[in-house]
């Protein structure tokens, strides 16, 4: 049985510690142990290539949830300039689980919105673990409309386990806020690119998930339900998440197969968390290229294509 990604990563961490030890010896004692280092490095690459080469749905689930993965604001920092964060839904609140603002992608002003997870305990709490609230979705819509007004494209970063389902969020209309966003995103008269960078959790993802292009990072997931939740319902056993992850078809390749996703963005070997710069560069290239394509399209055609793109999704039998 293959080791889980978590177990594997622990082993890799040990290997890295060992490499570092040898390096230190080299430095401290002046001995040339570069052969040994090269061998260990090659071993590491080999292991990574093997383990990350054909990851299962469950592997991807774990990679996508890796707390070391770059989050939205990491990508923003690495890909954009002049980022100016804008807060608040102008109604009732400000939601730390959803960020947004204006920024420049090369020479081009864009608006971005995205889920934001927290790195340490206090930020995780502030970000509500990436579970966005109605205030977050409404902030996102406000900013997207601002972007539309000034004819700037919109980029959405999805990375959420799901929408917040607390009592307060229910009271503040979490359903309505997601439905409204989906509805309005079909009406925004500027290009929209959606990127799933980590977890694409169900309705919480879709609430900022309508676009002219939907990209997924190589090790992200997009699912109608968390695999554990699915297992709990189907087999009454939440521990069978790994099985559920396979049947749910939550990988980028499955999503692409059904036309739900347009492009899979390559990650550095071993996942984006290993090399933020490389991950950001890869994503930035994809964004620039897709934006350039979308800029060629007239607004009416853009809206028609966006409609058709989503309208055609579904598999059923016709004719009895």
């Amino acid at each position: 049985m293959t080791a889980s990604i978590e177990e594997f990563e622990r082993a890799i961490a040990e290997l890295e510690t060992q490499i570092e030890r040898v390096r230190k010896l080299t430095r401290d004692q002046g001995l040339d142990r570069s052969d040994e280092i090269a061998k260990l490095e090659e071993l590491k690459s080999d292991l990574l290539r093997k383990r990350y080469g054909k990851p299962t749905g469950w592997d991807k689930t774990q990679i996508a949830r890796n707390p070391k993965r770059p989050f939205t604001l990491d990508f923003v920092r690495l890909m954009f300039s002049d980022f100016t964060e804008l807060h608040g839904d102008r109604l009732t609140g400000e939601d730390g689980a959803m960020v947004g603002g204006i920024a420049r992608l090369n020479d081009q002003w864009i608006t971005l919105v995205g889920h934001q997870k927290g790195r340490d305990a206090s930020e995780r709490h502030h970000r509500n673990f990436g579970y966005a609230r109605p205030e977050g979705y409404r902030k996102a819509l406000r900013l997207m409309r601002l972007s539309e007004k000034f004819k700037r494209p919109i980029i959405c970063f999805i990375d959420t386990p799901g929408a917040d389902c607390s009592v307060t969020s229910e009271e503040h209309g979490i359903s309505e806020s997601i439905a409204r966003n989906i509805h309005e995103m079909f009406r925004l008269r500027v290009p929209i690119i959606v990127v799933i960078t980590g977890e694409g959790g169900s309705g919480g993802a879709l609430g900022i998930g309508i676009g002219d292009r939907v990209l997924m990072l190589e090790h992200s997931i997009y699912s109608v339900i968390a695999p554990e939740g699915c297992a709990a319902i189907v087999w009454r056993d939440a521990k069978r998440g790994s099985e559920a992850a396979e049947v749910l078809g939550l990988t980028p390749h499955q999503a692409k197969r059904f036309g739900i996703v347009d492009e899979i963005v390559k990650e550095p070997l071993g996942g984006a968390q290993r090399d933020y710069d490389a991950a950001a560069k890869s994503l930035k290239d994809a964004l620039v290229r897709n934006l350039a394509e979308l800029h060629q399209i007239q607004t009416e055609e853009l809206l028609r294509s966006r409609y058709d793109r989503f309208r055609s999704l579904g598999v059923f039998h016709a004719g009895s």
């Binding site: 929408a163 389902c165 607390s166 009592v167 969020s169 229910e170 009271e171 503040h172 209309g173 979490i174 359903s175 309505e176 997601i178 439905a179 409204r180 989906i182 509805h183 309005e184 079909f186 009406r187 169900s202 309705g203 879709l206 609430g207 998930g209 309508i210 997009y222 699912s223 109608v224 339900i225 939740g229 699915c230 709990a232 319902i233 189907v234 939440a238 049947v247 749910l248 078809g249 939550l250 499955q254 999503a255 059904f258 739900i260 409609y307 989503f310 309208r311 999704l313 579904g314 598999v315 059923f316 039998h317 016709a318 004719g319 009895s320």
Partner: protein
């Protein structure tokens, strides 16, 4: 209006799960809320609302259509669409067969067009008796087509939810995409200046509510329906803790500004008629 809609024959699949086996089927039924044993004929004349406590029993989609639309006006469309099993999800084909046999439905939705007090409109009704009314590709497709037909004919559309499941996980992401698809159709209908009316009945949850179930010009709900973002099972998993009295009831959603009106079943047709008149819907001669 309103008397004897179900007088002719009992429709299949209705509420059988609520009648305890000790009571002979057909003559008597028992209220799921107050436990009163009700004389079936009287209960049916009362539109399947408990004559004692006012509990609104769940209806099937065909019952709902019979109750609301003008007699003989309903024309079903897209009845030939049936669910596939795109992910080869274990047991899904079998589940569809079982639910189909038990409910007499081909899937969790019935859709078509008809008239209501003479007003032409499209209508789609999801039915919790089939896989809890969860939104698979067929449900999404039929709803979108019903909305598109309304846009094309420039009539209002009435969407009625009786969907406890929201998404149908057996279809994976494709199920999620039905939220996008149905909302897209409604956005176009809206842009055409035409009315969308949503009627929420017990239960209306999850993916339905986070898409078309929230997107009416007007949202009506039957009394005491469960309406909300997550169902009980998920909210237990999410450790919501103690929820307030009446959480996720129609009345709770009314208090929190999410729906326009809670309407007793006997008043539904009248209320819908007024809304259709307000919208300036063209009548059909």
């Amino acid at each position: 209006m309103a008397n004897g809609w179900f007088g002719k024959k009992r429709l299949p699949g209705a509420e059988v799960q609520e009648a305890p086996p000790s009571i002979p089927d057909g003559l008597w039924t028992q209220c799921g809320k107050c436990r009163e044993v009700l004389f079936a004929r009287e209960w049916e004349r009362n539109l399947k609302v408990c004559t004692k406590c006012g509990h609104h029993f769940r209806l099937t989609a065909p019952e709902r259509i019979a109750m609301l639309l003008d007699e003989e006006s309903f024309v079903e469309i897209d009845g030939d669409l049936t669910s596939a099993n795109p992910l080869n999800f274990p047991g899904y084909d079998d589940k569809i067969r079982r639910h189909g046999a038990a409910s007499g439905l081909k899937d969790a939705v019935v859709s078509g067009h008809g008239t209501l007090d003479g007003y032409a409109l499209s209508v789609a009704v999801t039915d919790a008796h089939f896989m809890r009314g969860a939104m698979g590709s067929v449900v999404g497709e039929r709803i979108s087509r019903a909305v598109e037909l309304a846009t094309q004919r420039r009539t209002p559309v009435l969407l009625i939810s009786g969907s406890g499941g929201g998404a149908r996980m057996e279809e994976g992401l494709l199920s999620l995409m039905q939220m996008a698809k149905t909302s897209a159709s409604i956005a176009r209908h809206h842009d055409a200046g035409l009315m969308t009316i949503i009627l929420l009945t017990d239960p209306s949850l999850a993916g339905i509510m986070a898409s078309w179930g929230s997107l009416g010009d007007v949202l009506l709900a039957e009394p005491g329906a469960q309406i909300g973002f997550v169902g009980e099972r998920v909210s237990q998993q999410a450790h919501l803790g103690k929820v307030p009295q009446g959480f996720q009831s129609s009345e709770f959603q009314l208090t929190h500004g999410q729906i326009d009106q809670v309407v007793h079943r006997k008043d539904l047709r009248d209320t819908l008629t007024l809304l259709l008149e307000f919208a300036g819907a063209p009548g059909v001669a």
